[in-house]
Every structure is written in C-alpha cells, then in structure tokens.
Point group: D2
Chain length 351, copies 4
Amino acid sequence: MIIVMKTEATEAQVLTIQKHIRELGFKDHLIKGVERSVIAVLGAVYPELIDEFAALDGVDSVVRVSKPFKLASREVKEDDTVVKVGPVEIGSGRLVTMAGPCSVDTEENMIETARAVKAAGAHLLRGGAFKPRTSPYAFRGHGEKGLKILAAARAETGLPIVTEVMDARDVEVVARFADILQIGSRNMQNFALLDEVGKAHMPVLLKRGMWATIEEWLLAAEYILSHGNRDVILCERGIRTHETATRFTFDVNAIPVIKRLSHLPIIGDPSHATGKWYLVPPIALSAVAAGVDGLIIEVHPNPDQALSDGAQSLTPANFEKLMDQVRTLAEAMGRPVAPPIDELEKAVKTS
Amino acid sequence: MIIVMKTEATEAQVLTIQKHIRELGFKDHLIKGVERSVIAVLGAVYPELIDEFAALDGVDSVVRVSKPFKLASREVKEDDTVVKVGPVEIGSGRLVTMAGPCSVDTEENMIETARAVKAAGAHLLRGGAFKPRTSPYAFRGHGEKGLKILAAARAETGLPIVTEVMDARDVEVVARFADILQIGSRNMQNFALLDEVGKAHMPVLLKRGMWATIEEWLLAAEYILSHGNRDVILCERGIRTHETATRFTFDVNAIPVIKRLSHLPIIGDPSHATGKWYLVPPIALSAVAAGVDGLIIEVHPNPDQALSDGAQSLTPANFEKLMDQVRTLAEAMGRPVAPPIDELEKAVKTS
Amino acid sequence: MIIVMKTEATEAQVLTIQKHIRELGFKDHLIKGVERSVIAVLGAVYPELIDEFAALDGVDSVVRVSKPFKLASREVKEDDTVVKVGPVEIGSGRLVTMAGPCSVDTEENMIETARAVKAAGAHLLRGGAFKPRTSPYAFRGHGEKGLKILAAARAETGLPIVTEVMDARDVEVVARFADILQIGSRNMQNFALLDEVGKAHMPVLLKRGMWATIEEWLLAAEYILSHGNRDVILCERGIRTHETATRFTFDVNAIPVIKRLSHLPIIGDPSHATGKWYLVPPIALSAVAAGVDGLIIEVHPNPDQALSDGAQSLTPANFEKLMDQVRTLAEAMGRPVAPPIDELEKAVKTS
Amino acid sequence: MIIVMKTEATEAQVLTIQKHIRELGFKDHLIKGVERSVIAVLGAVYPELIDEFAALDGVDSVVRVSKPFKLASREVKEDDTVVKVGPVEIGSGRLVTMAGPCSVDTEENMIETARAVKAAGAHLLRGGAFKPRTSPYAFRGHGEKGLKILAAARAETGLPIVTEVMDARDVEVVARFADILQIGSRNMQNFALLDEVGKAHMPVLLKRGMWATIEEWLLAAEYILSHGNRDVILCERGIRTHETATRFTFDVNAIPVIKRLSHLPIIGDPSHATGKWYLVPPIALSAVAAGVDGLIIEVHPNPDQALSDGAQSLTPANFEKLMDQVRTLAEAMGRPVAPPIDELEKAVKTS
C-alpha cells in the first residue's frame, strides 16, 4: 500500500501517519519526492486500510499495490483449474458447450431440445427452473417441478445440467438435481448466496454482474473459493453500458484479462450479452477466438413461444450451424471442441 | 405495444403478425407509413410479449407504450405515499434525516453516536449489523449482536432504527429489531429477498442498484408492493459510471424523475454516492434542493477507526454543521426539516 | 511515479528498470515488500513515462502520484479565479445566470427573449449561431447572421453574449461578436480548437465532454490555460451513463470535486443535462446547492416552435419562477445571486 | 413517428396535436388504447419533430420509427460498400490489415517498421503525424514533417498510408500525403472536420467516439456521405465503460450490428480498445471472428522507446506471430486475408 501525501502536507502529518502504521504492526518507508512525500506500507495489508488511511489529515490518496483476491489469483495458483462435471472437463484446453432453453417449460419440449442440442454436439444442458425476472408479473419458473423436468432430460440424454439458484434457501434442492449451480448476474454480489454455494460440494458457474469490474467479479469468486469449493467457472455475459442497440455489451476484453489474472476457467454467454438471436453466432465465435473455455447458449425449438427470452434463442437448426462454425474455428486455433458427451462417457469408463 | 415492421417486410409477414395478435386475444391496428408499416397492439399487454414479437420474421423492433410498473406508478396512485415509522413520517413534505455509522461496532460507540446525531437533529439511527462486503476477508458485521446494540441505542435515544437485511433467511430476525428494513444496492434485484420483505409488515428502504435504470428500480419496488407491503422508501445512492474521481455518481436527475413517475418517497445517500466525507455536505444539500424527502448519512465519532467506510463518514461535529445548512436550505425551499424526534413523539402522544 | 513489479519479477528485471530510470535523469528508490517490490521514481515525471514503464518486463503496473494538470490545479494557484465579462464577475462568490434560446432564430424572437431573461434577472445572453447537430439533416444554425442578431440583442439589453464556436477557423469571427466563447461538449477534446481559443484574448466556457473524466476535463482546460488565456469557465452539462430516462446524467458530484482540485469557476447546465424542461428547475437548484458559480439555462418564448431543443427549454414565465427560487436558495446559502446587469454596469461606472 | 399520450391526457390535447400534425403537412392516425391514446404521424418526419412534439401538453413520449441515417443504411443501399485504396480493397470479403507505430518518429524507424509490417503481410501503413493528446504537455506529432516520413516509407514499401487529420484546416495538407484520412475517436462529432473530409475525394476511416452509440456513429458517417464522399470505413476502437482493468471496452457486439444496419466496411482497433499489448492478439482474433473487414494494429520496433502508446504496441515479431494466427482463423472462417500488397499490385497491373 502506498500513501500519497498532499503537496501541502506538514511534517507533523507525515509523522502521525508513520506512527499509525507502526501501531497497526506494519513497517513504513518514507520517500520524499519533488512535489510531495509518499509513504510505502509494508506487510499483509487488508482492503479496509485504504479507506482508513485515506481519511487521515494530509493524505491525498492511497494506492493499493497487491491484488485483493488471493485464491482466485494466478499469482497464488499458476496452473489452470479444470472443473470436472461428470465426464466433461471445463478448462482443460478443449472447448465445452452448454445449451438449452432460458426457462424450462414442458417435459416434452425440454427432452426435444435436449436431444437436439446433444445431436448438435452440446456437452451440458442449460435451463432455468428458478428465473430472475425484472418484473414481478413475468413468468418466474416452475421451481422444483422444473428441476425434475431437467433431471428427466438428463436421464434421457446423459447431458449434465446447469441451472440457476437464486435463493440461499434453495441451494439444497437445486444441488440435489443440478450438476452445476449457476449464480446469475444480478446475484453476483448476493453474498449470502455465494457463501452457501461455497459450502456446496459441486461446481458453480458464476456470471459476472452487469455492473461489476473484473476485480469485483474475482472477489465474488473468492467468496466461493474461501469456503473450500474450488470448482468455480466464470461466465462473461455482458456489462451495462451506454449503448442501446444491444441489451448489454459483451466485454470480450475480459476474457484474456481473466486468463492473465486468474487460473479459473471462463465461458461466454452470447445470448444474454446481445439479447438478439442473430447476434449470437458472431459473438459466440468472437468469444472462442478470444480464448474462452466454453459457451453457454440459449436454444429453443420454438423461440417465439418461449416463456422467456425468446428473442435471444436460437432454433436447433441455427444452433447446429453455429456448432459447425465453432468446431472449425476452435480446431483452427488449436483448442478443439471436446468430443460428444457419449464419447467422453465411454472414455471415462474405459480408462 | 407498437410493432415496427422492416421496410422490406412482406404483406404476408404483416398478416402473420396480425393473426398472432388476435390469437393471443388482443386487438391489432395496422398503420401503413411512407417507409414501413407499424402495427398497434391493443389490450393488457405483458412485458414478455415484446421479446416474443421482436423475434418474428419481418419485425424491426417492438416499442412498449405503457409503463411496466403499476402499483409504484403515479398513474395508479396520484397522491404521495407517506411512510410512518414510529412518530416519524417520510414523504409528508417535511425532510427526515437518518444518521449513524456504516457498521455497528461497540455498544458504547453506538450510543455515543446515537446521542450525537439525535442532538444534531437526526430522526432515525442507521447502522449495519449485516454488512455486504466486496471482499470475503473484510469485516462483515456483528449480526444479531449488532442488532441488539442498535436496539439498546434506540432504547437510550428513542430514535427508530434502519438497518440492512442481506439474506431472505434473516428477514425475521432483523424485523424483530429494526423499524425499517434496508435493501442494499447489490441486492436490488435479489428477488427472493424482495419477496420476503414484501411479506414483512414494516417499512422497507430500497436502495437503487448501482447498475439499475429508474424503471428497473421501480420494478424492484413493485415486487415489494405486489405482496401488499405499501411502505416502500426509495434511496438514490449513486450509480456506476466511467468517472473514477468519486466512488459512484450521485444521479440527482433521478430525484425529480421519480417524483414524476411514482408516489413513493425518495431519500438521498450522499455518503455512498461520493465515498469521500468532504463531498457529503454539498451532495446532501444538492439532494435537498432537488426535492428528496430525506437523507441518510454516515456519521462516526472516530472515522479513522471505523470498521468500514471510514473515509466517507462525517464526524458528529461536521454532521451538526451540515444539519444547520440543511435546515436553512430546506426552510428556504418551503419543505422544512421535521421537528426533533422528541417533539414528534410528544405530538403523537398529545394527539 | 510508482512502479509496481510483478510478484514473480526477477532481480535482473528490477535492476534493468532502475538503470533505465537513471538514464532518463530521474532518481529511483526501491522498496521490497512482502509480496513484491515497488520502485519510486523521483523527479519531474511526464505522463508518457507511465506507458513507457508499463511496457517493460516484470512490471505489473505503474501508478502516477502527481496530478497531470498544473495551471488548472489548486495546488499551483490557491485562490479562486474570477472571470470578468463586461461588468459581470464569474467565480466571485455571487451567482451568475446565462439564459436564452438553444439556437438563434429571428432577430425579433431573440430580442424578445433577451428582454424577458433580463427582466427575470439573467446576467448574460446565450444563443447558438453555429450548432453542433448529431444528424447532418438537422438545422445547423444561422452562422454569422446569427452572431449579428445576438449582437443586436446585446445592444438592446446590455447583456453580454455567450455563444458556441465549433471550428478553429471560426474563432476569429465568433470572437468579434461574442463576450464568451463556448466550447461544446463534443469538442472538449478538439485540441486544434482548444489551442485556438487559448490564443484568443477572451473568456472561454468549456463544457465537459459527455464521456470525459474530471481529470480529462481539467487537462482540456490546461490546453487553453497553457496558451496564456487564464479566463476559463468550466460547465458541467451531464455525462453519458446507462440511464435512459434522461438525456444525460447531471454529475453533481463533479461540482465539489472541481472546487477542490481547481481554482477555475464552474457553472451548471441543467437544460442539456436532463433534456426535459420540467427537470430543469430541480436540477438547477441542486447545482446551486452543490456550489456552482453560475447557471446556463435554455429559455425560448415558444418552446414548441424552437429550431432545436424545444423540449428542454423553459418559457420566460417558468424561467422567472425558477430565478425566484434560485435567488431564495442562493441567499439562504450565503452565496447570493449577483445584482441585475444594469446595477452591475452602474457600479462599474461609478467606481 | 408515434406520439404516446399520457393516460390522463384530455381529448382537447389530442385534438391540438392532431391539428398541429396536419398543419406541418403530415398525416395523423389516432389509436385509442386501453390505458391511453397514441397518434401515428405519417410522412417524411425529421429528427427535430421528436423534441417539438415531446414538449406539447398531454404528451408522454415520442417514439421514432424510421432510422435517422439514410445513406449509411442498408435499407437504402443493400450491397456492401467496397473501398478501394490503391490496389487494396476494404469490404470485399478479404481481410485487410493496417499496421505501424502510433506516432511517426524518425524516418529510419518508420522505414524499418514499414518493412517489418509488410514482411508480416500488412496491407497499409499507419502512423500519426498529428496526434491528439489528452495533455497539452505530451508529444503532439511531427506534423507535415511526419507526413513526409510516411510518404518516404510508402515509396520504399508500396504500402498505402492511413494517418489522422485533427483539424479542418489540415485536411488539404494531409490529403496530399495520405491514402486514407483518419478521423480519431475524440473528433467523431467534430462536425466541421466531418464536413471537410466529406468534401475530400478520398477514403475516410471514421473511428467511433468512445461515448457514441452505434446510431450516432452512423450519423457521423452520414455527414461524410452526405457530401458525396462514399468511401467511408468505420473503425470500432473501444467505448468507455465502468471497467478500469482495460483502457476501453472493445464493443465486439457493434461489429455484427453495423453489418446488419449498414453497408459500410468496418475494421477493428484492438490496440486502443485494450491499451495493453498482450491483450491485442486475442482481441484482434475476436474481431475477425465477429466479422470485421480489417484490423488496424500498432507495431513499433522498440515499444518502450515509442513517443506515444508504447504500452499497447506489438513488436514486429509479435505482430508476425499474430498475422499467422489471423491468417489461419480468417481462412477457417471462409473470409481469408487479402494477398500481400505486391501481389495485389501485380494483379491490378495485369488486369
């Protein structure tokens, strides 16, 4: 931590701060510059100290030097984390795809979709049983009934399930059915929920808050990691900006930044990041080119009859076409798409 | 709802959409323009229809005409809502102030602060027992112990308490001690929590999400209102923008916009909106000038020893000075500060 | 400047950087921390060094310690700059108002508006002869003819004129007619234009770019100041954010931040910051409460026949009402509105 | 244009508006809804009408139906515009690359860089002779001397030149040396400059303003097009958002949105969009995957000695590596990189 003094700070103010640093058990180091003095603070500084020192007389600003996240940091763990979900590995260098409808509707539709996305090469099935909705009057999901429909589709196809949990009280029931617990964008800083999924013994997909900096996102992951759950997958799903032509702005920059700062796998969600089905393919491809470990994509057999987010869902036919493009692109980049789920399953059994 | 067709849309596409509108039980109205056709949809349209129609062939865009929030809307309830908290009325045309530390620390400190803010004219005591923290390693509040300390300070001073609840499971315990349940910025779209405080029979202070549009904020209020709890107080606390000189940007525009769109009272939080104690007074005054019904301000006897947010806390002396300025300004604007709590209490008893 | 090394930086990398610092003529100062080393660079560092060092091997980040603006800084000039425009002083502690239509239309209308705003107590007349328009098909102003109409209105009323210059080539002609040269938001980083008005010997009103940080804004002022023109007035006119309910977000926080960082006067533009006439009065009052030195407000006798920005213009009657409120508020805050222009004129003559 | 009335609007207010519409020469069409009335306005509506009607009594909001840009719109010109620069075609389906230093420094360096980027396969040479700089104290380019150095490098290598013009007065001199006139991000709404390059008979590279919506960007292009200059190339270079880990946020969504709305070619600038050289390759690849027609990339032989933006410049070796990846990716996507400049030149001659 570096404390930058005001140009007009007095020597007495500098001394007071040095004394305070030592009282707190840290070492101080004074550097007199041309315009002003700065004081380096040495030791295991915690985030709150910044605010504390910034409030002192004579201080202009306080600059943090070390990163506030630890377990999520590549400085602490150098090699990539690989999250295993049944026979699927996320973060292993082979691209993984998750697909399915925004909301679970009927069992019939869900099984139809599951079969279609599996046929196109998807590795996991997505679908919302508990839905966060901006308006209280919108459809909010079928709850446990929806989870059972998802489980039926998994039984039918072998695809593991990723589904959202919105309430700390529901972690237990969702965990009973799901293979990956999804934390939605609006809950990225629902700390009670982060604590609860941190205690669950299963993978967590942590979507970025639409307002969050990359640092805040990694600190949200740190909440989960700090409970001993190391199976965190990050998901870039678009941030809120001034642009109104798209629902959100897909922050493609975040992908290589995360790869540099953290060992955690990261996937891209082009459906929510754009809000428009015809923008999903180019943005999915851009995410792959930028280095994601996977994609999560909304697919619905009849987008215009979907219970939510129909406008951003691909038809199975369009998803199949996209998967072909993704395969070609991923192959060309030397990070191929993982083999189909049945082959992965077989490989696990024979090994 | 207005459906704008593409310039190149065919007559068949227009007909398909008209048919679909009628199947759903709405009336349609076709207008042929110079460049393109638009179709008006008449009836009680629900938000999801927008996505549904936007996905259809030939559609350029879909425009909503009616507001998605109802109970929060001034179109539905014309006169201002007044929320009563003990003898205090919020939204009555007399300005109300809430003050206290960010986090509850010791009972001694809390009582000292409570006395100081009461002496300066504050009407409610704020303090966090459950604290949302960006980092899992920061101090997260004393929990129920903190609530008891707040209750002790209320017993001592008569000031009602506003304190945050972060977890749907804690609503019951917080409700037992608090007079107003506070929903923090990061939880503005924690729908499980909104549902739960909607069911509580007590006032709720709903802070704006730092990413939220005014419409999303009013929809979050609608969640609470839709459960029959009509005592919602809105709180503008700054939005996230590109500016880095301040922690957030206080959206002062939102105050008159809310007053126009909604009957709910709105207060301002200059402490979080700026992140710096020396910016709190001017921003508090600007909020009053723009028409807020109250202020919530962080005050701590020793800001540099505060367990959180020390940098944005006023000393009791600075708070007293600010209250004098607020009184003068509010008086001049014809919306005076409410009398001290003891007088309000007496007035209630004698009435 | 502080160079923060990566945790895994080698001693050789640290040495290379120290050598480079000395070669450039600066002093270095190494501090070995628990996790990593940091190197302080002492001397008159220039902004580009940050990029230069950030690109070197082993460097994690580079932190600037001193402010990049000098002449605009309160550290360099402690007391407030007062800009004189005829008999009017901006920044003297007495609030000044500028009012008039967005675009100059007919001489008749302009003189009518000038008389009306003067009667209400305005000190300067605003009006656009050269108009920046988002669309090439919108009305772009009457140019020199408009300047002449403004001059006629000044002759009639004695109100000095503030009007926009958009092109470095027009500085000479606009300067011939105007009393203050206005730089619009979209031109805040039109450096050729900044240079040109820096060379003009007259006051400049510098609107904040809707994208600009406060630091970039002060650096734009620095451009003008660095040419020897010290008469710069800043104008907060709203920044672009995610909120769509208003045209821009009035950054009221910026007012006290500017007052702390700079000696330059600052005024508020509630008309552009909101885009809606009914939001202008509350935001004007909030700006006054936050400490502006003046206001600039759009007034048009027939807003619905205005050639541009009718939706955000006040009628003369509404402006008069607002001026009454501003006077009351400013008086209460101990920073009264300056006397009417005729009195100021008289005071100058008799002194 | 659709005028949405307030729920409480009177019949008289509706009639007044209908009358006003007809007076202006348009047709009106009244639709009475469940909650409120809306009035469709038929005819060649111009943008200012929105403000005009929004200000009328009883009006809630006004919704535009047609797009405000015309010449830039795909509705007006369906097939892709191909911009020819010497033997290079931009927008033809074959990817084009522009590379070179941020600022022109010495002729020796420039020729070295030109040779290096040509050897790696670049098709155009970029370099700044006139540099927009946030601080007046930073290096602002060599001006005409820099243009001559660029011309020398073109003579040596055959690479056409793209270079920025910042001032309407410099268009003539820059046009004498350059093959493409570049409009920088900060000048996207410098309308005087847009008019001037619109009158020049040569290609213009229009960078997106960091604050601009896609619609405003296309309207800026419309300025140039409306003067008869049809050779406009758009360039996405990152928008300003709340994220601080990168200098800007590369709006990859904008690429397919532009492709849908407009016939103009679009290229990506990963150097400015990220501000960090190690993020340039993944973002360049993501732009290609999203469908750009070209890339513009900063390359400098010694990034840590660059006169500006060293931190975001690739070394020639890194650029060569990136070009290999781009070629592989573009090939895989069926939109290959254009052949080297010498081959293009030869093809032109033999045809």
